[in-house]
Amino acid sequence: MTATSLPAIEVNGTGDSEQAARRSVILLVYLLIGIAFGVVLTRSEVVSWFRIQEMFRFQSFRMYGIIGSAVATAAASVALIKRVKLKAISGEIIAIPRKELGSGMRYAAGGTIFGIGWALTGACPGPLFALIGNGDSVMIAAVLSALAGTWVYGWLRPRLPH
Protein backbone atom coordinates (compact mmCIF):
# COMPACT_ATOMS: atom_id res chain seq x y z
CA MET A 1 0.00 0.00 0.00
CA THR A 2 2.70 2.43 0.90
CA ALA A 3 4.57 1.55 -2.28
CA THR A 4 1.63 2.69 -4.39
CA SER A 5 0.65 5.72 -2.35
CA LEU A 6 4.13 7.18 -1.80
CA PRO A 7 4.93 8.06 -5.43
CA ALA A 8 1.54 9.73 -5.71
CA ILE A 9 2.35 11.95 -2.72
CA GLU A 10 5.72 12.78 -4.19
CA VAL A 11 4.19 13.80 -7.49
CA ASN A 12 1.81 16.11 -5.69
CA GLY A 13 4.69 17.37 -3.57
CA THR A 14 6.89 18.64 -6.39
CA GLY A 15 4.82 21.78 -6.83
CA ASP A 16 4.32 24.58 -4.34
CA SER A 17 5.08 22.65 -1.17
CA GLU A 18 8.53 21.63 -2.34
CA GLN A 19 9.32 25.21 -3.28
CA ALA A 20 8.05 26.37 0.09
CA ALA A 21 10.26 23.79 1.81
CA ARG A 22 13.24 24.98 -0.22
CA ARG A 23 12.53 28.59 0.74
CA SER A 24 12.36 27.65 4.42
CA VAL A 25 15.69 25.85 4.23
CA ILE A 26 17.31 28.91 2.62
CA LEU A 27 15.81 31.18 5.32
CA LEU A 28 17.23 28.82 7.93
CA VAL A 29 20.65 29.25 6.32
CA TYR A 30 20.30 33.05 6.59
CA LEU A 31 19.32 32.62 10.23
CA LEU A 32 22.44 30.56 10.91
CA ILE A 33 24.68 33.06 9.10
CA GLY A 34 23.04 35.83 11.17
CA ILE A 35 23.72 33.91 14.39
CA ALA A 36 27.37 33.59 13.38
CA PHE A 37 27.48 37.33 12.68
CA GLY A 38 25.98 38.14 16.09
CA VAL A 39 28.62 35.96 17.77
CA VAL A 40 31.44 37.61 15.81
CA LEU A 41 30.17 41.14 16.56
CA THR A 42 30.00 40.37 20.27
CA ARG A 43 33.27 38.47 20.62
CA SER A 44 35.19 41.01 18.52
CA GLU A 45 33.83 43.71 20.87
CA VAL A 46 32.70 45.79 17.92
CA VAL A 47 29.45 46.15 19.91
CA SER A 48 31.22 48.05 22.68
CA TRP A 49 30.68 51.79 23.17
CA PHE A 50 34.15 51.83 24.80
CA ARG A 51 35.77 50.34 21.68
CA ILE A 52 34.05 52.90 19.44
CA GLN A 53 35.32 55.72 21.67
CA GLU A 54 38.81 54.26 21.54
CA MET A 55 38.54 54.26 17.73
CA PHE A 56 37.29 57.84 17.38
CA ARG A 57 40.03 58.97 19.76
CA PHE A 58 42.69 57.12 17.72
CA GLN A 59 43.93 55.39 20.87
CA SER A 60 44.04 51.84 19.57
CA PHE A 61 44.69 50.19 16.26
CA ARG A 62 42.16 47.46 17.02
CA MET A 63 39.01 48.80 15.29
CA TYR A 64 41.00 50.00 12.30
CA GLY A 65 42.59 46.57 12.04
CA ILE A 66 39.18 44.91 12.20
CA ILE A 67 37.52 47.16 9.60
CA GLY A 68 40.60 47.20 7.34
CA SER A 69 41.06 43.43 7.32
CA ALA A 70 37.29 42.91 6.90
CA VAL A 71 37.28 45.14 3.81
CA ALA A 72 40.42 43.45 2.43
CA THR A 73 38.92 39.97 2.91
CA ALA A 74 35.60 41.01 1.40
CA ALA A 75 37.29 42.76 -1.55
CA ALA A 76 39.47 39.74 -2.34
CA SER A 77 36.42 37.44 -2.15
CA VAL A 78 34.32 39.70 -4.37
CA ALA A 79 37.13 39.98 -6.93
CA LEU A 80 37.49 36.21 -6.99
CA ILE A 81 33.73 35.67 -7.32
CA LYS A 82 33.62 38.09 -10.26
CA ARG A 83 36.65 36.55 -11.91
CA VAL A 84 35.31 33.00 -11.92
CA LYS A 85 31.76 34.29 -12.65
CA LEU A 86 30.46 32.24 -9.77
CA LYS A 87 26.80 31.31 -9.54
CA ALA A 88 24.91 31.52 -6.26
CA ILE A 89 23.51 28.32 -4.76
CA SER A 90 20.10 29.76 -5.64
CA GLY A 91 21.17 29.52 -9.31
CA GLU A 92 21.51 33.22 -10.14
CA ILE A 93 24.76 34.62 -11.47
CA ILE A 94 26.24 36.74 -8.70
CA ALA A 95 26.03 40.43 -9.54
CA ILE A 96 26.44 43.34 -7.15
CA PRO A 97 24.41 46.37 -8.23
CA ARG A 98 26.47 49.59 -8.40
CA LYS A 99 25.39 52.46 -6.16
CA GLU A 100 24.30 55.64 -7.92
CA LEU A 101 26.49 58.61 -7.07
CA GLY A 102 24.04 61.41 -7.89
CA SER A 103 25.28 64.64 -6.35
CA GLY A 104 26.96 62.63 -3.60
CA MET A 105 25.04 64.71 -1.06
CA ARG A 106 23.10 61.82 0.41
CA TYR A 107 26.32 59.94 1.16
CA ALA A 108 28.13 62.90 2.70
CA ALA A 109 25.19 64.22 4.72
CA GLY A 110 23.60 60.88 5.58
CA GLY A 111 27.01 59.44 6.44
CA THR A 112 27.81 62.33 8.77
CA ILE A 113 24.44 62.11 10.52
CA PHE A 114 24.90 58.37 11.02
CA GLY A 115 28.45 58.96 12.27
CA ILE A 116 27.16 61.24 15.04
CA GLY A 117 24.63 58.58 16.02
CA TRP A 118 27.29 55.87 15.89
CA ALA A 119 29.50 57.74 18.36
CA LEU A 120 26.58 58.58 20.68
CA THR A 121 25.06 55.10 20.90
CA GLY A 122 28.41 53.38 20.41
CA ALA A 123 26.65 51.04 18.02
CA CYS A 124 25.87 50.75 14.34
CA PRO A 125 22.70 48.88 13.30
CA GLY A 126 24.10 45.32 13.58
CA PRO A 127 25.49 45.85 17.08
CA LEU A 128 22.23 47.51 18.20
CA PHE A 129 20.50 44.17 17.70
CA ALA A 130 23.41 42.08 18.99
CA LEU A 131 23.38 44.20 22.16
CA ILE A 132 19.70 43.45 22.75
CA GLY A 133 20.69 39.79 22.48
CA ASN A 134 23.48 40.50 24.97
CA GLY A 135 20.79 41.51 27.45
CA ASP A 136 21.29 45.26 27.10
CA SER A 137 17.54 45.84 27.06
CA VAL A 138 17.72 49.65 26.88
CA MET A 139 18.95 49.19 23.30
CA ILE A 140 15.34 48.32 22.46
CA ALA A 141 14.70 52.04 22.94
CA ALA A 142 17.61 52.83 20.61
CA VAL A 143 16.18 50.51 17.94
CA LEU A 144 12.74 52.10 18.26
CA SER A 145 14.37 55.52 17.86
CA ALA A 146 16.30 54.23 14.85
CA LEU A 147 13.03 53.07 13.30
CA ALA A 148 11.56 56.51 13.97
CA GLY A 149 14.63 58.08 12.33
CA THR A 150 14.28 55.87 9.28
CA TRP A 151 10.58 56.67 9.08
CA VAL A 152 11.18 60.42 9.30
CA TYR A 153 13.78 60.12 6.53
CA GLY A 154 11.23 58.31 4.33
CA TRP A 155 8.75 61.07 4.99
CA LEU A 156 11.21 63.91 4.29
CA ARG A 157 12.87 62.12 1.37
CA PRO A 158 11.19 64.11 -1.43
CA ARG A 159 12.44 67.35 0.15
CA LEU A 160 16.04 66.30 0.85
CA PRO A 161 18.98 66.78 -1.54
CA HIS A 162 20.31 63.46 -2.88
Binding site: I26, L27, Y30, L32, G34, I35, F37, V39, L41, R43, S44, V47, S48, W49, F50, R51, I52, Q53, F56, R57, Q59, S60, R62, G65, I66, I67, S69, V71, A72, T73, A74, S77, E92, I94, R98, R106, A108, A109, G111, F114, G115, I116, G117, A119, L120, T121, C124, P125, G126, A130, L131, G133, G135, V138, L144, S145, L147, A148, T150, W155
Partner: protein, 188 residues
Protein backbone atom coordinates in the same frame (compact mmCIF):
# COMPACT_ATOMS: atom_id res chain seq x y z
CA UNK B 1 42.83 34.52 29.10
CA UNK B 2 42.07 34.62 25.43
CA UNK B 3 40.49 31.30 24.56
CA UNK B 4 37.97 30.86 21.76
CA UNK B 5 34.97 31.04 24.06
CA UNK B 6 35.92 33.70 26.53
CA UNK B 7 37.43 37.07 26.02
CA UNK B 8 37.79 39.09 22.87
CA UNK B 9 39.09 37.84 19.55
CA UNK B 10 42.19 39.45 18.05
CA UNK B 11 41.56 41.99 15.32
CA UNK B 12 43.22 39.77 12.69
CA UNK B 13 40.76 36.98 13.51
CA UNK B 14 37.65 39.16 13.89
CA UNK B 15 38.23 41.36 10.82
CA UNK B 16 38.61 38.61 8.19
CA UNK B 17 35.70 36.72 9.77
CA UNK B 18 33.48 39.80 9.38
CA UNK B 19 34.68 40.21 5.79
CA UNK B 20 33.66 36.64 4.96
CA UNK B 21 29.99 37.46 5.50
CA UNK B 22 30.08 39.33 2.18
CA UNK B 23 30.94 36.28 0.00
CA UNK B 24 28.82 33.98 2.21
CA UNK B 25 25.62 35.93 1.47
CA UNK B 26 26.52 36.36 -2.20
CA UNK B 27 27.12 32.64 -2.60
CA UNK B 28 24.00 31.53 -0.74
CA UNK B 29 21.53 33.75 -2.58
CA UNK B 30 23.21 36.63 -4.43
CA UNK B 31 22.45 38.90 -1.46
CA UNK B 32 24.40 42.02 -0.60
CA UNK B 33 25.51 42.23 3.04
CA UNK B 34 23.94 45.28 4.70
CA UNK B 35 22.12 45.57 8.00
CA UNK B 36 20.48 48.99 7.92
CA UNK B 37 18.03 48.21 5.09
CA UNK B 38 16.26 46.13 7.75
CA UNK B 39 15.18 49.34 9.46
CA UNK B 40 13.42 50.30 6.23
CA UNK B 41 11.91 46.81 5.90
CA UNK B 42 10.62 46.99 9.48
CA UNK B 43 9.03 50.40 8.83
CA UNK B 44 7.47 49.02 5.64
CA UNK B 45 6.15 46.01 7.53
CA UNK B 46 4.84 47.81 10.61
CA UNK B 47 4.04 51.48 9.89
CA UNK B 48 4.27 52.30 6.16
CA UNK B 49 1.75 55.15 6.60
CA UNK B 50 1.29 57.19 3.48
CA UNK B 51 5.03 57.31 2.81
CA UNK B 52 6.05 56.17 -0.65
CA UNK B 53 9.51 55.04 0.54
CA UNK B 54 7.84 52.27 2.55
CA UNK B 55 5.44 51.01 -0.10
CA UNK B 56 7.14 48.03 -1.72
CA UNK B 57 7.11 44.27 -1.29
CA UNK B 58 9.23 44.12 1.88
CA UNK B 59 8.85 40.35 2.16
CA UNK B 60 10.28 39.80 -1.29
CA UNK B 61 13.03 42.38 -0.83
CA UNK B 62 13.95 41.85 2.76
CA UNK B 63 12.54 38.78 4.48
CA UNK B 64 15.90 37.04 4.15
CA UNK B 65 17.62 40.05 5.75
CA UNK B 66 15.12 40.27 8.62
CA UNK B 67 15.70 36.57 9.33
CA UNK B 68 19.46 37.26 9.22
CA UNK B 69 18.90 40.12 11.69
CA UNK B 70 16.97 37.80 14.01
CA UNK B 71 20.04 35.59 13.88
CA UNK B 72 22.27 38.52 14.90
CA UNK B 73 20.13 38.97 18.01
CA UNK B 74 20.31 35.25 18.86
CA UNK B 75 24.05 35.25 18.16
CA UNK B 76 24.50 38.17 20.56
CA UNK B 77 22.60 36.21 23.19
CA UNK B 78 24.66 33.04 22.67
CA UNK B 79 28.00 34.84 22.62
CA UNK B 80 27.29 36.68 25.85
CA UNK B 81 26.13 33.53 27.62
CA UNK B 82 28.94 31.23 26.57
CA UNK B 83 32.18 32.13 28.28
CA UNK B 84 32.86 34.71 30.94
CA UNK B 85 31.44 38.21 30.76
CA UNK B 86 34.37 40.50 31.30
CA UNK B 87 35.50 44.08 31.08
CA UNK B 88 36.53 45.56 27.78
CA UNK B 89 40.29 46.03 27.88
CA UNK B 90 40.37 49.50 26.35
CA UNK B 91 43.58 51.50 26.22
CA UNK B 92 44.66 53.40 29.31
CA UNK B 93 44.51 56.69 27.42
CA UNK B 94 40.85 56.17 26.51
CA UNK B 95 40.09 55.24 30.09
CA UNK B 96 41.67 58.44 31.37
CA UNK B 97 39.92 60.58 28.73
CA UNK B 98 36.54 59.04 29.56
CA UNK B 99 37.11 59.34 33.32
CA UNK B 100 37.66 63.06 32.83
CA UNK B 101 34.28 63.20 31.13
CA UNK B 102 32.62 61.57 34.10
CA UNK B 103 32.52 57.92 33.06
CA UNK B 104 33.56 55.84 36.07
CA UNK B 105 31.98 52.45 35.51
CA UNK B 106 34.13 50.51 33.07
CA UNK B 107 32.53 47.13 33.68
CA UNK B 108 30.50 45.64 30.87
CA UNK B 109 30.25 46.36 27.17
CA UNK B 110 28.94 49.93 27.41
CA UNK B 111 28.93 52.40 30.32
CA UNK B 112 26.02 51.62 32.65
CA UNK B 113 25.91 55.28 33.62
CA UNK B 114 24.53 56.10 30.15
CA UNK B 115 22.87 52.90 29.06
CA UNK B 116 20.09 51.80 31.38
CA UNK B 117 16.37 52.53 31.46
CA UNK B 118 16.57 54.97 34.35
CA UNK B 119 19.34 56.94 32.61
CA UNK B 120 16.87 57.70 29.79
CA UNK B 121 15.45 60.31 32.15
CA UNK B 122 18.79 62.13 32.28
CA UNK B 123 19.93 64.37 29.43
CA UNK B 124 23.07 62.35 28.71
CA UNK B 125 21.24 59.01 28.76
CA UNK B 126 18.44 60.34 26.56
CA UNK B 127 20.84 61.84 24.02
CA UNK B 128 23.03 58.71 23.94
CA UNK B 129 20.18 56.25 23.44
CA UNK B 130 17.19 58.07 21.95
CA UNK B 131 18.79 60.88 19.94
CA UNK B 132 21.74 58.65 18.99
CA UNK B 133 19.40 55.89 17.84
CA UNK B 134 17.31 58.36 15.84
CA UNK B 135 20.41 59.68 14.06
CA UNK B 136 21.55 56.12 13.30
CA UNK B 137 18.19 55.39 11.67
CA UNK B 138 17.90 58.70 9.82
CA UNK B 139 21.54 58.79 8.70
CA UNK B 140 21.73 55.20 7.44
CA UNK B 141 18.47 55.56 5.51
CA UNK B 142 19.67 58.85 3.98
CA UNK B 143 23.11 57.44 3.13
CA UNK B 144 21.59 54.17 1.94
CA UNK B 145 23.80 52.03 4.16
CA UNK B 146 25.76 51.70 7.38
CA UNK B 147 29.07 50.21 8.42
CA UNK B 148 28.17 46.89 6.80
CA UNK B 149 26.57 48.13 3.58
CA UNK B 150 28.98 50.99 2.86
CA UNK B 151 32.19 50.47 4.86
CA UNK B 152 32.42 46.74 4.15
CA UNK B 153 30.29 45.70 1.15
CA UNK B 154 30.65 49.04 -0.65
CA UNK B 155 34.37 49.58 -0.15
CA UNK B 156 35.02 45.93 -1.03
CA UNK B 157 33.32 46.62 -4.38
CA UNK B 158 35.30 49.88 -4.82
CA UNK B 159 32.23 52.11 -4.79
CA UNK B 160 32.93 55.86 -4.66
CA UNK B 161 29.57 56.58 -2.95
CA UNK B 162 30.61 54.26 -0.13
CA UNK B 163 33.95 56.02 0.28
CA UNK B 164 32.11 59.35 0.61
CA UNK B 165 29.72 57.77 3.11
CA UNK B 166 32.56 56.32 5.20
CA UNK B 167 34.24 59.75 5.19
CA UNK B 168 30.96 61.06 6.57
CA UNK B 169 30.81 58.32 9.23
CA UNK B 170 34.17 59.44 10.58
CA UNK B 171 33.48 63.15 10.25
CA UNK B 172 30.27 62.68 12.23
CA UNK B 173 31.86 60.35 14.77
CA UNK B 174 34.76 62.73 15.41
CA UNK B 175 32.40 65.69 15.71
CA UNK B 176 30.30 63.82 18.27
CA UNK B 177 33.35 62.60 20.19
CA UNK B 178 35.14 65.95 20.41
CA UNK B 179 32.34 68.51 20.22
CA UNK B 180 29.22 66.86 21.67
CA UNK B 181 30.39 64.31 24.26
CA UNK B 182 32.54 66.76 26.30
CA UNK B 183 29.47 68.95 26.88
CA UNK B 184 27.02 66.12 27.18
CA UNK B 185 29.03 64.03 29.64
CA UNK B 186 31.08 66.72 31.31
CA UNK B 187 28.16 69.07 31.87
CA UNK B 188 26.11 66.92 34.22
Amino acid sequence: MNSWFSGEWSWYIAGPLIGLFVPALLIVGNKVFGISSNLRHLCAAIVPGGVKFFHYDWKKAGLWNLVFLGGVLIGGFLASHVGAVRNIAISGETRIALSRLGIHDFSGVSPHELFNWRALLTLRGFVSVVIGGFLVGFGTAYAGGCTSGHAISGLANFELPSLIAVGGFFAGGLAATYLILPFLLGGI
